[in-house]
Symmetry: C2
Subunit: 123 residues, 2 copies
């Protein structure tokens, strides 16, 4: 039987190259451990039913909130509280580990618990 071993996050990041596409690499009870590469600006959205954990592995990520920016560098964690609008922005490519309950969509489509916010006009 193939038994799970250590998940080397940096190595697993080299296994794919597309952006804003999450890869599930493991589970913790009913949570998924996911990796993603981010580049550019996402859309404003919030998750009505769950917090979302970001751990930056490479690059610098700006998690834009409506009232402030949260700048994350490698080795830094931020939890976006449920219901809080946020818009991740990566001026350079960023590698992240994400943790959230199974079935949460990053956005893209609207599903239960995921609310897409129309982006505000650029200032």
């Amino acid at each position: 039987m193939d038994q799970p071993g250590p998940l080397n996050l940096t190595h697993l990041l080299t296994k794919f190259s597309d952006h804003w596409s999450q890869r599930t690499i493991g589970t913790l009870n009913d949570y998924e451990i996911k990796l993603a590469k981010l580049l550019g600006e996402f859309v404003w959205h919030s998750h009505a039913d769950t917090d979302e954990l970001f751990l930056v592995l490479s690059g610098t990520l700006n998690i834009q909130l409506r009232d402030r920016d949260v700048i994350l560098r490698p080795g830094e964690v931020f939890v976006v509280p449920k219901g809080v609008e946020h818009c991740p922005k990566a001026d350079e490519e960023v590698g992240v580990m994400l943790l959230e309950p199974k079935g949460v969509v990053n956005t893209g489509g609207c599903e239960k618990g995921d609310l897409i916010i129309t982006p505000r006009p650029m200032k």
Copy 2:
């Protein structure tokens, strides 16, 4: 109001020095994000009701399972499945981030969901 910002894991590890004592640094829904420093060998135990996530930040951790050792280096994650006996061992000091539901004790005392296994004799 004091708003939460990034959690710099390496920096937060410098804030305490005792071993096998978890510090909660944040929450993700009903999960706790915890840091700990490990040195030496723990006791064999399992968590009947939950998986447990380890992310090694510094040092090399051996998560001993009954049938094998899982060696974790910085940037590596392992999830001990619920019910699986394990015994963390750190020959040198190890810094880890842990994630598990609130109320799980690392062991020490027996609480619901936490089963202490009598250590086996040293070979």
